[in-house]
C-alpha cells in the first residue's frame, strides 16, 4: 500500500494581476518518479517552489509524508532535497566548498559531510573540478553541483526543476541512474521538464500543467492513453499557431 509522499491541495499564487498557479491539486505516491510537464510559463516552477517551502502560497496546503509543510517548515524540509531551476548559487565557493556548506548548514556532522561530498562529486564526475570556483563551471556542471548539494543530507523526497537542462548525455544518464536507484530504494522524485521523451523514459507518473492548472495527472499510461505523451500534451495544452508567416525572413 503506497502512501502519499507529497500532497498539494488547492495551491494558488498570484504575482500582481497574473495568476501563476490557480488551484493545483496533486498527489505524488511514495517511491514514484513524478514528471511535471507544461509549456513555458505554465506554473511548473511556481508549483515546485511552493512545494519546496521557498515560496509562500496565497492559498492551499502542502503535505510532505503527511506533515503540513507550511505550518512546520523545519520538520518538513529535513526530508526534502531541492534543486530550483536556474538557481543562483554561492558561486564564489568552489564546488567542494559549496557541497560542504550545504551539508553543514543542515547541521550534519563534519565526518558524514566530508565522506558524502567526496562520493557525490566522484559519482557525478565533478571530482576533477572540485577545486574550481562554481562561477567558472559550465551550465551542466552547475546543474550537477546543485544536485549534489540537494542530495548530501539524504532526503526522502527530491524536487528537481529542469534537472536535465544543459546537461550532457553522459551526465544525464548518470543522473537518471541515480534517480532510478533513489526511487527503487523508496525515495520519491518530482521532476519538471518540457522534454517529453525524457519524462516518458524516466517517470512512472506524470501531470500536465498549463495556465496554472492541472490538465491531467496520473500514471504515465493513464495520462498518455494510446498515443505518445507529446501528442496528448499538444492536445491538452492547445495547438500551435497554424503557420508562422515572416516572409521577409525567407528572402
Amino acid at each position: 500500500m503506497p502512501t502519499t509522499a507529497l500532497a498539494l491541495r488547492g495551491l494558488t499564487k498570484r504575482f500582481g494581476a497574473k495568476v501563476a498557479v490557480g488551484g493545483v491539486d496533486l498527489d505524488v505516491p511514495s517511491g514514484a518518479c513524478f514528471g511535471l510537464v507544461g509549456p513555458n510559463g505554465a506554473g511548473k516552477t511556481t508549483t515546485l517552489s511552493i512545494a519546496s517551502g521557498l515560496l509562500r502560497p496565497d492559498a492551499g496546503s502542502v503535505a510532505v509524508h503527511g506533515r503540513d509543510l507550511w505550518s512546520d517548515l523545519v520538520a518538513a524540509k529535513q526530508v526534502l532535497g531541492i534543486m530550483p531551476d536556474g538557481a543562483r548559487l554561492f558561486d564564489r565557493l568552489t564546488g567542494a566548498q559549496l557541497v560542504t556548506y550545504a551539508g553543514l548548514l543542515r547541521g550534519m556532522d563534519r565526518r558524514t559531510v566530508d565522506a558524502r561530498r567526496d562520493e557525490l562529486l566522484d559519482v557525478l564526475g565533478l571530482a576533477r573540478d572540485a577545486g574550481t570556483l562554481v562561477v567558472d563551471y559550465s551550465a551542466g556542471m552547475v546543474k550537477k553541483i546543485t544536485l549534489a548539494s540537494a542530495l548530501v543530507h539524504a532526503p526522502r523526497v527530491l524536487l528537481l526543476d529542469e534537472p536535465f537542462e544543459a546537461v550532457d548525455p553522459i551526465s544525464a544518464a548518470v543522473i537518471r541512474d541515480i534517480l532510478e536507484r533513489f526511487t527503487a530504494g523508496g525515495g520519491t522524485v518530482v521532476v519538471s521538464s518540457h522534454v517529453m521523451d525524457l519524462v516518458e523514459r524516466l517517470c512512472d507518473h506524470v501531470a500536465i500543467i498549463a495556465d496554472g492548472t492541472v490538465r491531467a495527472a496520473g500514471t504515465l499510461a493513464q495520462v498518455r492513453g494510446p498515443g505518445t505523451l507529446e501528442q496528448r500534451f499538444v492536445e491538452l495544452v492547445g495547438g500551435m499557431p497554424l503557420r508562422a508567416e515572416l516572409p521577409w525572413l525567407l528572402s
Binding site: L54, R56, Q78, L80
Partner: protein, 523 residues
C-alpha cells in the same frame, strides 16, 4: 543614435517607477535635494559677481574639483554609478562605437546629478554679466569641458576599476590599495607633526585651490579667472591640462568600453584550482559554515572588497576635513566601524537568489545572523586596532583611549545589530556577484537611498548616548566620562547587537520565504 539612447534612458527611468512606489519616493527625494542645491548655488551667483577674481577662482576650483571627484569617486564609494545603460548590453547590436560613446556620454547627463551639475556649471558663467561680458563665452566653454570631465571621469572610473575588481586578481590590488595609502598617510602625518597634534594651515582654502587648479580635476575651473586676471600663460597651461584630461578620460573610457564589449562575461576568467576547502574545511556547525562562507565572500567577492577599499580613504577625508583641529581624527575608529558594520545591512540582497540554499536547508535564523556578524567582526577587529591605535598616535591623545575605544566598539556593535535587522526587512536591487560592483541596477540608487536613510536615523538614535558621552570625555579630558563611555559602548552596543541578531533571526525563521520573494522581486 544619440537621440535613441537618450530616449531609451528616459523610458528606463519611467519604467523603473512602475515597478515600485519606493522608486518614486527615492527619485522625489533626489530631485528635492538637487533642487535645493541648485537654488542655493544660483542664489549665490549675484553675491559672487561682487567678489574679486582670486575669491572666484578659489570658489570655482574647489567647487568644481569636488564635482569632478564626486562624479568619479561616489560610484566607487556608494556603489551608485548609474549604469542604466551598461555598454555591454549593446554588444549584440550593430552600433558604431563612436555613436555609442556620444550617446552614452550624453545620456549620462540625463538624470538628477547630471542636470544639477550642468545647470550650475553653465549658470556660474554669467557671473561676468556686469563686469566683463566678453568672458562669458570663455566661461561657457570651460563649463562645458568641466561637465564633460565629470561625466567622462565617472564613466572611465566605472569601466576601468569595475573591470579590475570583478577579476579575482582584485584581492591583491585591494590589499595593496588598503595598505599603501595607510602607510603613506602614517608617513605623512609623522613627518608633519612627529607625535603631536596634527597642524594644518588656517588659510587652507586658497592654498588647496591653488594646488587643485594645477591638477586634472581642478584645472578647467581656473581657466576663466586666469584669463580675467590677464595671466595668459597660466591660463594656457591650465587649459592644456584640462584638454589633456578630457581627451585621456575619453580614450580610457572608449578603450575600456571596447574591451568590455568584446569580452562581455568578465568575472569568469578561469582561475587556478583551489586545493582543499579553506576555512570551510575547519568548521563544524551551521554558524561556523556561515562565518566561513561570509569570510570567503569578503575576500573573493568584489562587492565586499569594494566596501573594504573605502576604509583607507577615511583618514584622508578626516585629515582634510579637520582643518587644523586634529582631534577630529579620533573619529576614525567609529567611522571605520560604521562602514564595516553597516556593510552587512545588504547581506541578504548580496546573497541574491543564492539565498534559497539557506532557506532550503533549515539554518536557524540565529545561526545565520551570528554567522554574518562574526565574519564582519573577524575583519573589523584587526582593522580597528590599526585605526584606533593610529588615530590616538597621530593626535597624541593617548589619554582619550577609553572613550575612543568605547565609541568605536559601540558604533561597531550597534551597526552590526541594526544591520542584522535591516537586511531581513529591506532588500533592494544590488549588483549581482560578478557584475561590476560599482554599478547600481536601474533605479536602485533611489530605493537604496530611502532605505539607508531610515537605517541611518535608527543608528544615530542608538549610538547617540555613547557618542555624546565619548565626545564630552574627549573634550573635557575626563577619565570618569571616558570609562562610562567605554562601558556604554561595550554593554549598550552588545545589547543592541544581541537584540538585533535575535530579532533578525526570529524574523528569518518566521518569514524566510517572504524575504526570498522580495529578493526575487528586486532583481
Amino acid at each position: 543614435m544619440v537621440a535613441v539612447l537618450i530616449r531609451l534612458k528616459l523610458a528606463l527611468l519611467a519604467n523603473a517607477f512602475r515597478r515600485s512606489p519606493w522608486q518614486v519616493v527615492g527619485m522625489v527625494l533626489a530631485m528635492l535635494y538637487g533642487l535645493g542645491l541648485t537654488i542655493g548655488a544660483l542664489a549665490a551667483i549675484p553675491l559672487l559677481a561682487r567678489q574679486d577674481v582670486d575669491f572666484l577662482r578659489a570658489y570655482w576650483v574647489v567647487g568644481g574639483s569636488m564635482a569632478v571627484l564626486g562624479w568619479t569617486i561616489v560610484p566607487l564609494v556608494s556603489g551608485g554609478a548609474d549604469m542604466t545603460l551598461d555598454p555591454r548590453r549593446f554588444a549584440t547590436f550593430a552600433v558604431r562605437h563612436r555613436s555609442l560613446l556620444w550617446g552614452l556620454g550624453l545620456a549620462a547627463v540625463v538624470g538628477v546629478p547630471g542636470l544639477v551639475t550642468t545647470v550650475l556649471a553653465l549658470a556660474n558663467s554669467f557671473v561676468w554679466w556686469d563686469t566683463a561680458p566678453r568672458l562669458i563665452p570663455v566661461a561657457l566653454i570651460c563649463a562645458t569641458v568641466g561637465v564633460a570631465t565629470c561625466v567622462l571621469g565617472s564613466r572611465a572610473a566605472t569601466v576601468v576599476l569595475g573591470r579590475l575588481l570583478s577579476t579575482r586578481f582584485a584581492r591583491i590590488v585591494m590589499a595593496l590599495g588598503i595598505v599603501v595609502p595607510l602607510v603613506a598617510f602614517v608617513l605623512l602625518v609623522s613627518r608633519a607633526s612627529g607625535s603631536g597634534p596634527v597642524q594644518v594651515d588656517a588659510n587652507l582654502l586658497p592654498t588647496i585651490a591653488e594646488v587643485l587648479s594645477w591638477t586634472p580635476v581642478g584645472a578647467v575651473w581656473a581657466v576663466t579667472t586666469e584669463v580675467a586676471s590677464g595671466s595668459w600663460v597660466v591660463a594656457g597651461l591650465k587649459s592644456a591640462i584640462a584638454v589633456v584630461t578630457v581627451v585621456t578620460l575619453a580614450v580610457v573610457w572608449s578603450r575600456g568600453m571596447r574591451t568590455s564589449m568584446e569580452t562581455p562575461d568578465d568575472g569568469r576568467k578561469g582561475s587556478a584550482a583551489h586545493r582543499g576547502l579553506g576555512l570551510l574545511g575547519r568548521v563544524r556547525t551551521p554558524t561556523g559554515a556561515m562565518v566561513a562562507r561570509c569570510l570567503v565572500y569578503w575576500f573573493r567577492d568584489a562587492r565586499y572588497a569594494a566596501g573594504l577599499a573605502i576604509v583607507p580613504f577615511i583618514p584622508f577625508v578626516l585629515y582634510l576635513a579637520s582643518g587644523g583641529h586634529g582631534v577630529l581624527m579620533l573619529s576614525l575608529g567609529p567611522f571605520v566601524a560604521f562602514v564595516l558594520g553597516w556593510a552587512i545591512s545588504v547581506d541578504v540582497a548580496y546573497d541574491g537568489q543564492a539565498f534559497w540554499m539557506q532557506l532550503a536547508s533549515n539554518v536557524p535564523g540565529r545561526a545565520d545572523r551570528w554567522g554574518r556578524v562574526l565574519a564582519v567582526l573577524v575583519i573589523a577587529v584587526p582593522v580597528e586596532l590599526l585605526a584606533v591605535g593610529g588615530s590616538l598616535w597621530a593626535t597624541g591623545r593617548w589619554d582619550a583611549t577609553a572613550p575612543v575605544v568605547g565609541m568605536t566598539v559601540g558604533v561597531l556593535l550597534v551597526s552590526c545589530g541594526l544591520a542584522s535587522v535591516m537586511s531581513v526587512l529591506f532588500v533592494y536591487p544590488v549588483p549581482a556577484a560578478g557584475e561590476n560592483p560599482f554599478t547600481a541596477p536601474t533605479g536602485g540608487a533611489a530605493i537604496n537611498m530611502a532605505t539607508q536613510m531610515v537605517g541611518w536615523m535608527g543608528l544615530m538614535v542608538c549610538v547617540s548616548p555613547v557618542l555624546v558621552v565619548g565626545v564630552l570625555a574627549v573634550a573635557r579630558h575626563s577619565v570618569l566620562l571616558g570609562l562610562v563611555c567605554a562601558a556604554l559602548g561595550v554593554v549598550g552596543g552588545g545589547a543592541v547587537l544581541w537584540g538585533g541578531a535575535t530579532f533578525g533571526g526570529r524574523r528569518l525563521d518566521l518569514r524566510g520565504p517572504d524575504l526570498m520573494a522580495k529578493v526575487v522581486a528586486s532583481r
